[in-house]
Amino acid sequence: MDSLHAIGFYVSAALAGVGGILLAFLHGHWHRGLALGAVGLGVAGIYASLSAGFAAIVVLFCYIGCALLVARPDYRTVEQAAGGLWRQIGALGAALLLVVLAYAAFRGRFALATFYGGPFNSVSVARLLFAHDALATEAVAGVVLVALVGAAIAWRRERPRDEREGRR
């Protein structure tokens, strides 16, 4: 891997990390959408610098879609029932997870192999998606279909209060 790819990797990783931190601490739908878009851009850059161009494009589209959904101004605000103590325990658990994963990455003995794929790899990924692992792709497609149908039904059921009152 040359220096240009390495610089791209670290810049993209920094963008994803900063986007994630902003996502954790910013308030407001638009701000969260922008932060999630920054995370998606950073992750797509990481993938592109790791010779996974096709995955980078898919991730960019998916995360822009996530960002647009999160940035919508008209969904309800639902507060968690868990108190501050449980949230702090969860945050400590996340820190513990970081320590464990970083320790595993640092101490692990990994086998290194020479990479023979190209920078984009759309043919080999498509061959895996639609031939070798077609069942997994269909399972994910089924999950996506159920999720989108469920979301559409739930979204249609929630009416504005004045509209419901007007029907009575």
Binding site: M1, V39, I46, N121, V143
Partner: protein
Amino acid sequence: MSVTLVSVLFVAAGLTALGAFIAAWKRELTAALTGLPVMFAGAGVAFVGVARFGATSGAPALGQEVAVLLAIAALAAVGLGVGLAGRESSR
């Protein structure tokens, strides 16, 4: 300056832990849901890193395939969460 599998896994660990932190820390449920794509991104980075640096000649694109599926699943999860939260009433 170079990128190794260890540095990729460090980034993946950071993104996964950051997603877990967002999911645990945010009080609003739809905001907490945004931690899920970040966690999936961390998992995807780990898969792509292993495919780039550690995969043998058998299936080098397997990690990229899993990353694609994870991104699609993240989009579906966010769509379902926002849909279940429902529309804000006008008053």
